[in-house]
């Protein structure tokens, strides 16, 4: 058996074990008391109790939800696909806005040691700020909850991109620069034929970190601003005490995050090089 086959088999075993243990540890929320009085029935005591759902229950719900991912029964009941699409759209908007700004700016900072040193203190102060701390300010200035969440994504994804781009540009080997110089390249040509391709792997590392952070932050941001999106969905299902849906959406958040990360890592393969 090859290593890959072994690992796949082990993965499946872990899943099976997880399902069995999960089923054993969770109930279905049925109550023990039978023969309810009329009052008790009216109070909903005949209904199942709120409970942590087992894997099978979640799987059933997932099947149901994923067969109609885009249904729309009003503001409080939209399909999981719709909610995820809203979140992805916001993440993309904020993320690409920061790509447009951070990559060229990082490039300039990396090209000039003076700039790099001058901007360091500001970047170091701004970087550790929780992106959600910007939310009140964003809401007040932008006066739109959706755009505010886009802004929050923008502000959280800009730092890793900026720092990595600057670092990548700064650490281009002198030998490569010398090749460009001896070929009499002007700064423009040097930037695009030597520095950019040399720095791209580092830039992509920044892009990947930023994407990861963006997806973490959007859930929290949407819990705050509400309306639509996967973060709102989770919080809404919590308010409905529908824990199966909460667990299901947690799972979906993980899957989408994985896909986003894989997409960037796949793209970066085209720009990576080995020395």
């Amino acid at each position: 058996m090859t290593e890959t086959k072994k690992s796949i088999l082990l993965s499946i075993l872990i899943l099976v074990a997880f399902v069995i243990v999960g089923e054993l540890l969770t109930g279905d929320g049925s109550r023990t008391k039978k023969n309810l009085t009329e009052y008790e029935t009216l109070m909903g005591l005949g209904e199942k109790q709120a409970h942590v759902p087992g894997p099978v229950e979640v799987a059933k719900l997932a099947f149901k939800e994923l067969s109609h991912p885009f249904y729309d029964n009003g503001p409080n009941d939209k399909g999981i696909g719709t909610q995820l699409a809203f979140s992805i759209l916001r993440v993309m908007a904020g993320y690409f806005l920061s790509v447009i700004i951070a990559v060229p700016l990082g490039f300039l900072i990396g090209m000039s040691p003076v700039f790099y040193k001058a901007l360091q203190p500001y970047i170091q102060i701004l970087k550790p700020i929780s992106p959600l701390a910007w939310m009140p300010l964003a809401l007040f200035v932008i006066k739109d909850s959706i755009l505010s969440s886009v802004f929050v994504i923008f502000i959280c994804s800009i730092w890793p991109m900026l720092i990595n781009t600057a670092f990548g540009v700064m650490s281009v080997k002198t030998d490569f620069l010398n090749v460009g110089k001896t070929l009499e390249m002007n700064s423009f040509k040097m930037a695009f034929t030597i520095i950019l391709p040399a720095a791209l792997p580092t830039i992509f590392t920044g892009l990947r970190i930023s994407m990861g952070i963006s997806w973490l932050v959007i859930v929290a941001a949407e819990m705050l601003v509400g309306g639509t999106g996967i973060g709102y969905y989770v919080w809404n299902e919590w308010n409905n005490l529908d824990l199966a849906s909460v667990v299901f959406s947690i799972l979906m958040i993980g899957i989408v995050g994985m896909v986003l990360d894989a997409a960037i890592s796949y793209t970066s393969k085209y720009f990576n090089y080995q020395e």
């Binding site: 030998d175 010398n178 001896t182 070929l183 009499e184 720009f271 090089y273 080995q274």
Partner: protein
């Protein structure tokens, strides 16, 4: 008036020390010249500033004093007329072998058509026997092959002066030998004017018309110009049989082992003056004179 192809007059290079109070002089009062078509090697101990001199000639690094003139023009910045083969090949790893060469050609011959650029690149890659590897990335090549790409890239832009910084230093002896043969062959064909730094005495004798010897640093000088009077074309396996070979070789070894530090000492004591450097030495004549008791004329 000075009509040398390249003339180096009294150049020096110094850096401020770390505490910022003084200066460290890498080398000073270095003068020599190169004629068109000549192959010059520079030999000296590690740390005497050989690579710094080469970078100065390339224009990658500025000198602190003196002047470097190529064809009566001051060398101030890098130029396509001075091709450089770097010690660690410096092939761009994200480009294929072919693209590495075409990129350089495009920089030099700006109006050349795409087909011409490609066929020119292919010609020079064939010259270094890399025709079967043109679409490979540098990471798929061995060290010797990478260095050959560097050689093809440098020759493809037809520089007036080729500068090589220990081009074969990182290679094993077998590969180095093969590349030396290749270089002898190409240089005989193209009459390329070349300035090369090396640690390898045999390599220097095989390739050069003149060998410049540096005294020990800091404050190193080019102490001697040794004439290599062995007819060209030369051949790596036969050159050792030439009567002059071991005379020159022994002379060079003696310089590196004994004289290089002695020269530095004499300069400090003032028994040797900068204005007399570099001394031109022909080891064959010197030996003849010594054997026949002829005192320096």
């Amino acid at each position: 008036m000075n009509h040398n192809f390249l003339s180096v007059n009294n150049i020096s290079k110094s850096y401020p020390t770390k505490d910022g109070k003084g200066f460290i002089t890498i080398y000073e009062n270095v003068s020599f010249s190169i004629e068109k078509g000549e192959f010059i090697c520079l030999i000296g101990h590690s740390g005497c500033g050989k690579s710094t001199i080469l970078n100065n000639l390339a224009g990658l690094n500025s000198i602190s004093g003196g002047s470097i003139k190529m064809q009566d023009e001051e060398v101030e910045k890098p130029s396509l007329e001075r091709g450089v083969i770097f010690q660690n090949h410096s092939i761009l790893p994200w480009l294929t072998v072919l693209k590495n060469v075409t990129m350089a050609i495009k920089c030099k011959f700006k109006t050349m058509s795409k087909e011409d650029i490609e066929s020119r690149a292919n010609y020079f890659l064939k010259m270094v026997n890399l025709e079967d590897h043109i679409h490979k990335k540098p990471s798929e090549l061995s060290g010797g092959m990478k260095q050959r790409v560097g050689i093809a890239r440098a020759f493809a832009i037809e520089p007036s002066l080729l500068l090589m910084d220990e081009p074969f230093g990182a290679l094993d002896a077998l590969t180095r030998g093969k590349l030396q043969d290749k270089l002898v062959e190409i240089c005989d064909k193209t009459k390329q004017t070349t300035f090369m730094i090396t640690h390898d005495i045999d390599e220097a004798i095989l390739l050069s018309d003149k060998i410049l010897l540096m005294s020990d640093g800091p404050e190193a000088r080019v102490a001697e110009t040794v004439i290599v009077d062995i007819p060209k074309p030369r051949n790596r396996s036969q050159i050792v049989n030439h009567p002059a070979y071991y005379v020159i070789r022994n002379y060079l070894v003696d310089f590196l082992v004994n004289q290089s530090s002695l020269v530095a000492k004499k300069l400090k004591e003032g028994t040797l003056l900068d204005k007399d450097l570099p001394l031109t030495v022909d080891p064959i004549k010197l030996k003849y004179n010594l054997e026949n008791n002829i005192i320096n004329p």
